[in-house]
Subunit: 133 residues, 2 copies
């Protein structure tokens, strides 16, 4: 038995996976590059996406715009091999450690987080889009 | 003028900050340790939290449970100095690069992501809670 603070809610120390999906049945999933630590993207999973990700070790998300399961890289080839999945203290967010093939972002950049907020109105682009071929 | 693909939606290459808040007026914000790259937590910001974070360079979130602005570390002392804020391609997620004082997680651990998903039912605890004092 593990030593944990007596006041901790069971969900914080439990070793049972019980992800908290939101009212739309979704949970946010952050994808982080396993080698560089770079945060690549955030997307959403429903229970089936999570189950398929666990079963195949390839990232599967739920596309909110297309309203369908989205096997990352199915059309682009930019797949994500999932090396580890973490869940946070209250089990309402997932963190995936992935081996990314190609670009995680649909703009062609490695990461979706290519712009830095400089003030309340402006952004600075830290990574140019790939040249049009 | 920057060279970008002609088909790119303006929100993807725009240098105007226009965060997409959800129907509850919130946007997810991922906090990453600036030195180690460790993902520490994910929380939510409303427009005011983001404005205060930008103005003070200290992380301010919106507490969904308490329904109030939550200056990280105000009671615990575990503040987050914000070195950089990134926004993703469709401007619906923020990524904060922070200098974390003490533990980011309310359980006393550095990161909220201390449990690894081993299968569809089980977790493995990778970081024990601090000893009760």
């Amino acid at each position: 038995m593990r030593n944990h603070p007596p006041s901790a809610p069971s969900s914080e120390e439990s070793l049972a996976l019980s992800p908290k999906f939101n009212e739309a049945g979704l949970i946010p999933a952050i994808a982080q590059d396993a080698e560089t630590g770079e945060v690549l993207m955030m997307a959403w999973m429903n229970a089936e996406a999570l189950a398929q990700t666990l079963a195949t070790r390839q990232a599967v998300y739920w596309s909110r715009s297309r309203r369908e399961l989205w096997r990352k890289g199915a059309s682009s080839g930019h797949t994500q091999e999932v090396l580890d999945i973490r869940v946070d203290c209250d089990q309402d967010t997932l963190l995936l450690s992935v081996r990314q093939t190609g670009a995680a972002c649909h703009t062609g950049r490695k990461s979706c987080f290519y712009r830095s907020v400089t003030d309340a109105e402006s952004l600075d682009n830290r990574s140019a889009p790939p040249e049009a071929s």
